[in-house]
């Protein structure tokens, strides 16, 4: 069995601050069961710990993280960065905007990781802890060259859009659409 809580949408409580201290970001969602009534509180870790000490035996307290710290803080830093630079980035490959990401917590394609990289980067305090350390793909299926070309064009498209070279971007986009069609058909 897999609990629904494990697939929480980061945006559902993104950017929420602790309801107790009002300062720290809320990372724990506390449900109080009292007979048939259920109340919800969003708390930071230290307030949640304090709260746990005050609960009498009759009430039931369940806690689960209300969001992923990484994504939530990334969104917060993205907002501040947006204010500083005065524009919101958009992924030229799939059209995902920073706002979309903030609303539903979802990236639209692999290229989004390049486009929004600086926002995720800013979040990671310990940069070495943020490197992938697990399994890596070992096999290279047929058509690898074509796939790499698609990834290269996707990056080029992002850069062209960012520097507002729209005519060149349009032709790269047409070439991409053609290649993507071939690749998805295998």
């Amino acid at each position: 069995m897999f609990s629904e809580g494990s697939d929480w949408q980061a945006a559902a409580s993104g950017g929420r601050t602790c309801e107790s201290c009002g300062e720290e970001p809320a990372t724990i969602h506390v449900l109080h069961f009292d007979g048939s009534a259920v109340t919800h509180t969003h708390l930071c870790a230290s307030c949640a710990e304090e709260e746990a000490g005050h609960v009498d035996g009759a009430a039931l307290v369940v806690a689960l993280p209300s969001m992923l710290g990484t994504v939530a803080s990334a969104m917060i830093s993205a907002v501040s960065s947006e204010r500083e630079h005065g524009f919101a980035p958009i992924c030229a490959v799939c059209g995902t905007t920073l706002n979309d990401f903030r609303e539903n917590g979802l990236f639209g394609c692999a290229a989004c990781y390049q486009v929004f990289q600086s926002y995720l980067d800013e979040e990671l305090e310990d940069r070495t802890a943020g490197e992938h350390l697990g399994k890596v793909p070992t096999r290279t299926p047929g058509g690898q060259h074509q796939r790499r070309e698609v990834v290269r064009l996707q990056r080029m498209l992002s850069e062209l859009v960012e520097s507002e070279r729209f005519e060149e971007a349009a032709s790269v986009r047409d070439r991409l659409a053609e290649l993507e069609g071939q690749v998805s058909a295998g």
Binding site: M1, F2, S3, E4, G5, S6, D7, A10, I28, V30, L31, F33, A45, E49, A52, G53, V55, D56, G57, A59, L60, V61, V62, A63, L64, P65, T70, V71, A74, V93, C94, G105, L106, F107, G108, C109, A110, Y113, L120, T128, G130, E131, H132, L133, G134, K135, V136, P137, R139, T140, P141, G143, R147, V150, V151, E180, V183, S184, A185, G186
Partner: protein, 340 residues
């Protein structure tokens, strides 16, 4: 003995995406259908005949979906989604499963006994290798396997251990447990909205760590919670022997005599009775402290409907589901009694 009555099950999910296609929520249905066909044909070609069975999600009824969720071979989020490109694959009759075009293009998943994480991993790892030989995965050296939710990127792995911890729940200690898990990059979430005191411990982070370390961290944290639950149960019985026996005896009385029982109430009853069994307070033929999970599954609505086909139930919304569930409880606990 007691340890096994607290740890109920283990489970893993692995998320992957094709390198070029936009992720499902941003891709066209036609592209996703083409991709789905590629996946199905790749797995059918590589596996033994009949090893994989694929189903169109639109053709699976809501009762069947709920049944698969209750069996631990489908995630609740995938069961709720819509779209003609979505498909579900069952490997070796349920040893593992594959969700196609959910939040990510691919999500492999499997469940096992409490100490079965490494077996489940071995099965999923093998399926992953097979898929990878045909599908170019979206992968980045820095971010690992790329997923629609940035939080899943890295290994793309979530490891779950399911615990029966009603003692920690009724004594209000779960918030402290969750807070301490959060400090280790882990999380606690209630299964079945907390009914029956069943919870899952799982990893919040999939980046900056390896698959082995994730499963080890979840296993180690769980060991500690099991110990706490065991201590709480003993303490409750030592300090309140009459009220503990009374609570368990009443649960058994309702299970043996009630005529209509909701799923939440049934889970609570089974939970109390099984705690009694694990502490030798309940005895009788067919009573088994290790049966908690299977009993909790059998009282879930989709299991009541699917297992009780002969009862003529119309579906999950049939009002007689609660009656059939009560019959089931009466049958299961017919011979049980509170130990003197």
């Amino acid at each position: 003995m007691m340890a096994d009555s607290v740890r109920l099950a283990s489970g893993l999910t692995i998320s992957r995406n094709e390198e070029v296609l936009p992720f499902p929520h941003a891709a066209s249905e036609d592209m996703l259908c083409t991709f789905r066909a590629r996946v199905e044909s790749a797995l059918s070609r590589h596996g033994a005949p009949g090893e994989w069975e694929f189903f169109d999600m639109d053709a699976i009824s809501s009762a069947q979906r709920a049944y698969l969720v209750e069996r631990g071979v489908m995630t609740p989020g995938f069961a709720k989604g819509v779209g003609r490109s979505r498909a579900f694959g069952l490997f070796q009759g349920g040893r593992a499963a594959l969700e196609i075009n959910g939040t990510d293009h691919l999500r492999m998943l499997g469940s096992g006994p409490p100490d079965g994480l490494s077996d489940v991993w071995a099965t999923l790892d093998h399926i992953d290798d097979t898929l990878e030989s045909e599908i170019a995965y979206a992968f980045d050296e820095r971010w690992g396997y790329l997923t629609a939710r940035a939080a899943d990127s890295g290994t793309g792995l979530r490891a779950f251990l399911t615990l029966h911890a009603p003692g920690l729940m009724i004594t209000g200690r779960l918030a402290a447990v969750a807070a301490s898990l959060a400090g280790e990059g882990l999380a606690l979430a209630p299964l079945w909205s907390g009914a029956g005191g069943v919870f899952q411990v799982f990893n919040r982070k999939a980046l900056g760590t390896s698959e082995g370390r994730i499963t080890e961290a979840v296993t180690a944290a769980t060991r500690d919670i099991v110990e706490q639950e065991r201590t709480v149960r003993k303490g409750l019985l030592r300090e309140n022997p009459v009220s503990v026996r009374d609570h368990i005896g009443r649960a058994l009385g309702v299970a043996q005599q009630a005529w209509s029982v909701s799923v939440a109430e049934a889970l609570t009853l089974v939970s109390s009775i099984q705690v009694g069994v694990s502490m030798d307070l309940v005895e009788g033929p067919g009573i088994d402290a290790g049966a908690t999970l299977s009993l909790m599954r059998r009282v879930q609505s989709a299991h009541v409907v699917v297992d009780g086909m002969g009862s003529g139930l119309g579906g999950l919304e049939d009002p007689r589901v609660d009656e059939v569930r009560a019959q089931l409880l009466r049958r299961i606990f017919a011979g049980a009694r509170v130990a003197q």
